[in-house]
């Protein structure tokens, strides 16, 4: 595999579009970006004069703040638009919002949207580079990249790592991006969840799918817990929180089956007592706060690399 010196696309829409060498390039760049966060003056002039629009159609605190911080550390001018209070709630279509933004000549648009493929729609309308900050049940590429950076930091590699991803797989964009990234990079991925929440197509990626948490975590280097939304707990996916925690909750006892130096990750926000025991969330295995720090560095890397690509 030869080292990539640039990203092939002007957009980051999905991990599916990235080559392994491009993933390495982003992660290597993120390592360099991370150092900036340790300085007294945590700011570099790399994107001075560039405009980044943060278009958040879906509630998100940590991803939005993480992108904003990344943009500010790179000295970009940023504008934030959230669904509440914008023309979006007045019935304007995404395409019209995009055209309006386009008139302001942004260099990069970061979009979070409840509909899968919304960033793709934007990429067909806008000249700006589009960064997918989470679209529906599709992908959350920067989350998978920051997870990969965290794993690489802690384990020194991605290839050959055994990773269990546990929870509501069906509705999770974090699962999709991580499954794509980790299998591309040669990790062994196991996905575990109740049968009502397992999407099709995972085995085709080379992911081992199981409904047994004990089987999933056996000897793994990494356990990644996914959020289970409370609204899935009634309806027909799951009978109760209690039964979910019994079958799929991550406890210190369950973790004993994993490798002795296992790390536990969670994209947040966590539901303590639903998918994860507090003793695990706050225990020595947890790298959840590393993930947050790495999120800023990875987003700086993505913005920096995309800013170099020519506007079409």
């Amino acid at each position: 595999m030869t080292a990539a010196t640039r990203l092939q696309s002007r957009h980051l829409l999905s991990i599916a579009d990235l080559e392994p060498a491009e993933i390495d390039l982003i992660l290597d760049t993120a390592v360099a970006m991370k150092e900036i966060g340790t300085r007294t003056i945590k700011k570099v002039p790399a994107l001075r004069g560039r405009t980044v629009v943060n278009l958040f159609f879906e509630a998100s605190t940590r991803t939005r703040l993480s992108f904003e911080l990344a943009e500010k550390r790179l000295s970009a001018d940023t504008m934030g638009i959230t669904a509440a209070g914008s023309s979006v709630t007045k019935g304007e279509t995404l395409a019209d919002t995009a055209r309006t933004l386009e008139a302001m000549s942004p260099d990069i648009i970061v979009i979070r949207h409840a509909a899968s493929g919304a960033p793709h729609l934007l990429s067909t309308i806008c000249r700006a580079g589009i960064v997918n900050a989470g679209d529906g049940m599709h992908e959350h590429p920067t989350q998978a990249l920051l997870d990969a950076l965290t794993m690489r930091e802690r384990k020194g590699r991605l290839a050959g790592l055994k990773v269990a991803i546990v929870g509501d797989l069906l509705h999770s964009r974090v699962l999709r991006s991580n499954a794509l990234l980790l299998t591309k990079m040669g990790a062994e991925v196991r996905a575990c969840g109740p049968p009502t929440l397992i999407p099709l197509g995972l085995t085709a990626l080379g992911v081992h799918v199981t409904t047994s948490l004990d089987e999933a975590v056996k000897d793994v280097d990494v356990v990644m817990m996914l959020r289970v939304q409370r609204e899935r707990m009634h309806g027909m996916f799951l009978p109760s929180v209690r039964e979910y925690f019994t079958l799929f909750g991550l406890t210190p006892a369950r973790l004993e089956r994993a490798a002795s130096d296992v790390i536990v990750m969670h994209p947040g926000p966590m539901n303590r007592g639903v998918e994860i025991d507090s003793a695990v969330a706050d225990g020595p295995w947890s790298v959840i706060l590393d993930q947050v720090a790495n999120g800023v560095a990875v987003r700086m890397a993505v913005l920096y690399l995309l800013a170099g690509e020519e506007l079409s």
């Binding site: 829409l13 599916a16 279509t93 995404l94 395409a95 949207h113 409840a114 509909a115 899968s116 493929g117 919304a118 793709h120 729609l121 990429s123 067909t124 679209d135 529906g136 049940m137 599709h138 992908e139 964009r173 999709r176 999407p199 099709l200 197509g201 995972l202 085709a204």
Partner: protein, 448 residues
């Protein structure tokens, strides 16, 4: 455009008319809007002569029994005039239109309005299909006798399934009295849920909520059982899933009066297309959705073995603004009238799946027989509804050039072999295809 009364002879063309048992070179004489003679070396008697170019094929007028004309109520998508002109350009001399207009075609007054508008437009013939239930709400059965009297040829709650098994049972029993079929949009609402694409690996990885194939087949199985119970006629609309085809075959083998139709997109495309380009092309969003390759192949096999009765387009025009939305929010449906003939000729006839004769059955004879409407064959004394095909003409589909009011086609840029050369309705040559060499011979003499 030729006028009624203009007598002319289509000379020496290959005529494919399976219902009449004809496949060979015949002359067809047309007078006063009707076929006045069919035979070899007909006397000309001063009539205008159209020497049919070599390779052209004369067939009974094609009939699309599943079209959404959108009028009344959604004239920004299509009108009866634009839709029936789109039909004529596509080679269809007749269309059956679905009742999910605004208001729903659940009363004779709406049916009469549609018939009146169709007659004013003067393009393809229109056969309205009435709603099974008032407002297609699934509660109260419509006045089927009244609707039948006004011109409805079948009943359906298309857009959604007939809500309950009990209503479907009653509809089958009641409609049987008028010898009209119930057309079913097969879909179990709970299994469909908020689905927007076929439930499979593609939708899963694109993060789109899925609609499993069995959402269709479960409803088809219910309806086939009810047709068996009642002796009524059930027609499965826009079949897409292999499980449904299996249910239809089972029903037919038991002697149930079940028929089915398949739309061109379900035998030419599969769900992988959703990944093409930037992905999430809303012109690939229709209901039932593009299924996986196994389903597409099953449909092709259904044509090969004769299990499928009809090809219909499910022509569903939507304004470009309505489609320029997030995939989840865009409406279901694509236009189909003007792309049907090239797709069927290229992907079924030239691909060796079916013969030209079978093509005519699927697109003309069978829908006419099913709906008990005139046409489907060329008969002396009957209206001259004729489609002229140029099966070897190259075609490049251009969505922007479609005459339908809406351009929501996923086939833009497709290069296919097989075109409509001319469309004749009631003895009037309404359309000759400027892109097909020799088609202009069918045009009548210019009127001063």
């Amino acid at each position: 455009m030729t006028q009624v009364g203009d007598a002319f002879v289509l000379k020496g063309g290959r005529v494919v008319d399976p219902r009449a048992g004809r496949d060979g070179h015949f002359d067809i004489r047309i007078e006063n809007g009707r076929v006045s003679a069919i035979g070899k070396d007909l006397p000309l008697d001063g009539a205008r002569v159209v020497e049919v170019p070599a390779g052209f094929v004369i067939t009974p007028g094609l009939i699309d029994m599943h079209v959404h004309l959108r009028e009344p109520g959604q004239e920004h998508k299509e009108t009866i005039a634009t839709g029936t002109w789109s039909a004529v350009v596509g080679g269809f001399t007749g269309v059956a239109c679905m009742p999910n207009t605004e208001p729903v075609n659940d009363s004779a007054s709406v049916t009469q309005f549609i018939m009146k508008r169709a007659s004013e437009a003067g393009f393809a013939r229109v056969y309205p299909i009435g709603a099974v239930s008032i407002g297609s709400m699934g509660d109260q059965m419509t006045e089927m006798g009244d609707l039948r009297g006004a011109g409805c040829v079948a009943f359906t709650d298309d857009g959604k399934p007939v809500a309950t098994a009990l209503l479907m049972r009653r509809a089958l029993e009641y409609a049987g009295m008028f010898d009209v079929p119930i057309i079913e949009h097969c879909e179990d609402p709970s299994l469909k849920g908020a689905g927007v694409a076929h439930e499979g690996a593609v939708a899963s990885m694109l993060g789109l909520q899925g609609i499993p194939g069995v959402a269709e087949s479960i409803m088809a199985e219910r309806d086939i059982s009810l047709a068996e119970l009642t002796g009524g006629r059930i027609h499965i609309a826009h079949m897409s899933a292999r499980q449904t085809l299996r249910a239809v075959r089972d029903g037919k083998s038991r002697g149930v009066q079940v028929t089915c139709e398949v739309a061109p997109h379900h035998f030419t495309l599969n769900d992988e297309a959703l990944r093409d380009g930037a992905g999430y092309n809303t012109n690939l969003k229709m209901n039932p959705p593009l299924r996986e390759e196994a389903d597409r192949l099953a449909m092709v096999e259904g044509f090969r073995d004769g299990s499928i009765d009809v090809i219909s387009t499910d022509h569903a025009p939507h304004h470009a603004d309505e489609k320029a939305l997030e995939f989840d929010r865009a409406p279901f449906g694509i236009v189909g009238l003007e792309t049907c003939v090239p797709l069927c000729l290229d992907r079924l006839v030239h691909a060796g799946v079916i013969s030209l004769s079978r093509f005519v059955e699927l697109l003309s004879a069978s829908p006419a027989a099913l709906l008990r409407i005139p046409g489907g064959t060329l008969t002396v004394g009957e209206p001259a509804d004729i489609t002229v095909l140029a099966p070897d003409a190259p075609v490049t589909i251009q969505a922007s050039a479609l005459v339908s009011k809406s351009k929501n086609s996923p086939f833009d840029g497709w290069q296919l072999r097989g075109a409509t050369a001319a469309t004749i309705v009631g003895g009037r040559v309404l359309y000759t295809n400027p892109a097909v060499s020799g088609a202009d011979r069918f045009a009548g003499p210019a009127k001063s």
